[in-house]
């Protein structure tokens, strides 16, 4: 495993999709290469910060239009 292999495999590594043998090679490289260790940590952080980000507020007017349209559709169905 070299630095290029880490870049190409970082996504599969984060997702736990590497086979055991390759994952071990990957981790051996991370112990020896500080840059790759930081790179993997930053990529993992990038995924985490998006997946755990606070939900944005739904603007009140947008929400109101959605619910109005929905009620109209429900009422049409009842006629």
């Amino acid at each position: 495993m070299n630095c290029d292999g880490v870049i190409r495999g970082v996504s599969s590594y984060i997702d736990g999709e590497l086979g055991i043998a390759i994952r071990e090679e990957f981790e051996v490289h991370l112990k020896m290469c500080r840059d790759c260790a930081i790179f993997v940590q930053q990529t993992k952080f990038t995924v985490e910060i998006f997946s755990t980000a606070e939900l944005p507020d739904l603007p009140a007017d947008t929400r109101s239009r959605l619910h109005d349209k929905l009620r109209r559709k429900i009422n049409e169905g009842r006629k």
Binding site: E54, L58, L70
Partner: protein, 186 residues
Amino acid sequence: MAAAKSGDAAAFEELVNRYERKIFRLTMNITRNREDAEDSMQDAFMKAYSHLGGFQEDSRFYTWLVRIAANEALMRLRKRRPNQFSLDEPIESDDDVIPQEIEDWGPSPEQRYAQTEMRDILNGVIDQLQPDFRVAFVLRDVEGLSTGETAEALGISEAAVKSRLLRARLKLRQKLDRIFRQGGAH
């Protein structure tokens, strides 16, 4: 869920209340346009209501809803930017995603920013992603769909999802790197 499926309008509205913010985030993240995001969200909930009878309860309702909303948003995105979105693998050189120099971001970079400031940073960087990469990233990493579900929603192979996801993650890391580097822009 069962009540909504049997035609209980109040039960369906409860489902809308539960998921509307997440669906709006999804359609905003895909279209990056407020008007398209709102229209996509409305159409997604209308379609979900109309097709609730066909919903298989062995699949998660949220995943089903995300698939509908993603398709609505993608349709609008393709209309607005027909040349920037394709089902083919995007042609792009590897060079721009290979890190040139690595620098530590320091401890807890997220704590250096207020919540609203961080939200602006994330919006800013995701906005710069090519649509193909952005959509794969949003479905997989923001909405939590599996690779298979993402592939199905986009009509592409799982290998293509993985490839786009890798590129999206590398590009986002690179863009955040410029912001988070200690002594950087902040």
